[in-house]
Symmetry: C2
Subunit: 353 residues, 2 copies
DNA sequence: CATTTGGTGTAAAACGTTTTAAAATGGCGG
DNA sequence: CCGCCATTTTAAAACGTTTTACACCAAATG
């Protein structure tokens, strides 16, 4: 059906090799032949068959994107940026969701490697150092996005997570909060660690004491966030909560609602990651916003830079994007100790989403 | 590097063709040879090279998914279902976002066809009838999801949109609302039309008069929804709003907040599509929920059914999934006419997100 | 016994490229 | 006029499959 390179060659009255050279610019071709070939291509509407090319070159014009959490719109933004770049360069994008599961990540890596994708953009799970190693071993270009891995010799793009958390906590401290609970994220990933570091840094700098027991292990899902927030709130010790990601912020809201606590009157809340609903809620949520689209766009750019300069790979680059504290209505000065508020309702409440 | 079919053949002491036959089951192979071949495959860890196969068969084990709106989590759920199916069948999934732009849709269709994807799952833009026609012309399997197109001879999976809207409006009517505004969706797509039909049906059945001017052209983005909601609210005529999709519900919330109106005291609000934030907001949103994951999962199932029964294509099937009305707190009986509430603030407010 | 028939196996062609190695062309100095 | 080099072109080999067409053999048929 579709025209092949052979048809083009015949029509232009040249050899197949010449056509190939014109298309790929791999060799000098005299201007006259070049013109003839281009005319033939035009007339036939010829497009090189991707499989023939892929078979010969051992690689297809396809890149892969690995995303750890499909419910978090933050990653949808990152994917947007990567997709934009892929389109720019005429590559197809295979997007896979690992759902924080190293096993699934491993599966996808091996299956995509076998498919000979040209490169990877990955926001790794906690086991990334291991699961991604086959990519490096095969010498396939890899860019890490959002979550970085110390010492891995690849391009890495992330936000200034420590700085973001630092700003958020300083904001709460300035308002007068002293007991600030944290809904922590997935362990063993850089974003969680960096944000916790920012939290501690703000306390250290202010000279105020920090109660490590207020750092509740959350994770990444709504239910987990809700449970963690609930136990934090029921302890009656905190006047503010810092939620380390989008989804857990929703969980915290759920718990507040369930316990009949009002925000910011009873508890202040700061989230990490802005989102479309964060602005329109009542109260509007104070959040640390990342430049999520830009994260993806930049990661894509770095990947293609590497793909284009194939023979001489550039030195791995690490980029950190600024974060922004958006103050809305969910944070205010603490009013009264929380414990009184809760006394009436007992402590046997169980999360039920 | 990786083993080829040739290596397997040599190791098993058979011909290449035999190995191929064992792998694909395309011909009978004697048990003894079969065993030998399988052993060789095992030992070498052989996996057929996808490009060789694709080149020969003119098609790769890859399917494409076209999504019209990247910000709406509803579509992320659909994508989840499709991805699950793709994994099940060992296919890769290329996901592209058209952003409601027929031009982009056309571009992706042509580029994916040229890539020889094995099939498409598409939630089409308003121009779907035209932009998708090249797929049919080439005889590539296609499944429509969420938005259907009348008379197109392909599998189609959607929700009972009319029924969902009908339930929502009946709920509002039963509460006593008579002037119900609608934030309408993208024109010329089935979901919008069906939901509007449900709206009208509920009115018709109740015998109450319907004011067509309360159907405000929204579209699909937050800003559009906010503007439409604002003009509806400023008219002072409505006591309830039915928002036809997720994103516009957020827009409506934005307008409510901006105008200082409370929900449900001043205005009741019903949205289409449930979401993670809808439940935890204050007030919790009353919504018509779709089985979004299932939509995608089913669409994928239908696509692979068609791919597997290639020589004799089955009759196109149309599936409609039940919708559910989830009543939360954003809908209540109307209290006082809205016009009084708004009199104090004038009508020169402009959307500013 | 000669000839089909049906079941297994294989060599070789084909899919559409890119690239290597060799051939043709043309200009130039000897 | 010949040989030599530089430049441009091309034929052919490869990439790894699937599939067609044929070869082989044993059993069944006439």
């Amino acid at each position: 059906m579709a025209a092949t390179i052979k048809d083009v060659a015949k029509r232009a009255g040249v050899s197949i090799a010449t056509v190939s050279n014109v298309i790929n610019g791999s060799r000098r071709v005299s201007p006259e032949l070049k013109k003839k070939v281009q005319k033939a291509i035009e007339e036939l509407g010829y497009q090189p068959n991707p499989f023939g090319r892929a078979l010969r070159k051992g690689e297809s014009s396809t890149i892969a994107l690995l995303i750890p959490d499909r419910s978090n719109p933050f990653y949808a933004q990152i994917a947007w940026g990567v997709e934009e770049q892929a389109r720019r360069y005429g590559y197809a994008l295979i997007t896979c969701h690992t759902d924080e599961d190293p096993g699934l990540e491993e599966f996808y890596v091996s299956s995509l490697l076998h498919r000979r994708v040209a490169g990877f953009v990955v926001a790794p799970t906690s086991a990334g150092r291991d699961t991604l190693s086959p990519i490096l071993r095969r010498g396939v270009p890899l860019v890490l996005v959002d979550r970085v891995i110390e010492g891995l010799p690849v391009d890495q793009v992330s936000s200034d997570n420590e700085g973001g958390a630092y700003m958020a906590i300083r904001h709460l401290l300035q308002l007068g909060h002293r007991n600030i609970g944290v809904l922590s994220g997935v362990e063993d990933i850089s974003t969680t660690q960096d944000r916790i570091r920012g939290y501690k840094k703000a306390f250290a700098e202010s000279g105020l004491p920090l109660d490590e027991s207020l750092i509740a292990p959350g994770c990444s899902q709504i239910e987990e966030g809700a449970a963690a927030a609930e136990s934090l709130l029921l302890s009656g010790e905190v006047t503010a909560i810092f939620s380390i990601n989008n989804m857990m912020t929703l969980g915290a809201l759920h718990s507040l609602k369930k316990l009949g606590l009002r925000c910011p009157e009873d508890v202040s809340l700061v989230g990490f990651d802005d989102s479309e609903w964060a602005a329109v809620m009542t109260p509007g949520l104070t959040v640390v916003a990342q430049q999520s689209y830009e994260l993806g766009y930049l990661a894509g750019a770095l990947l293609f830079r590497r793909l284009k300069r194939r023979p001489k790979p550039p030195k791995p680059r690490t980029v950190k994007l600024r974060t922004i504290l958006i103050i809305r209505e969910s944070t205010a000065e603490p009013r009264e100790p929380l414990s009184g508020k809760l006394a009436a309702r007992g402590s046997s409440v169980v999360a039920n989403l």
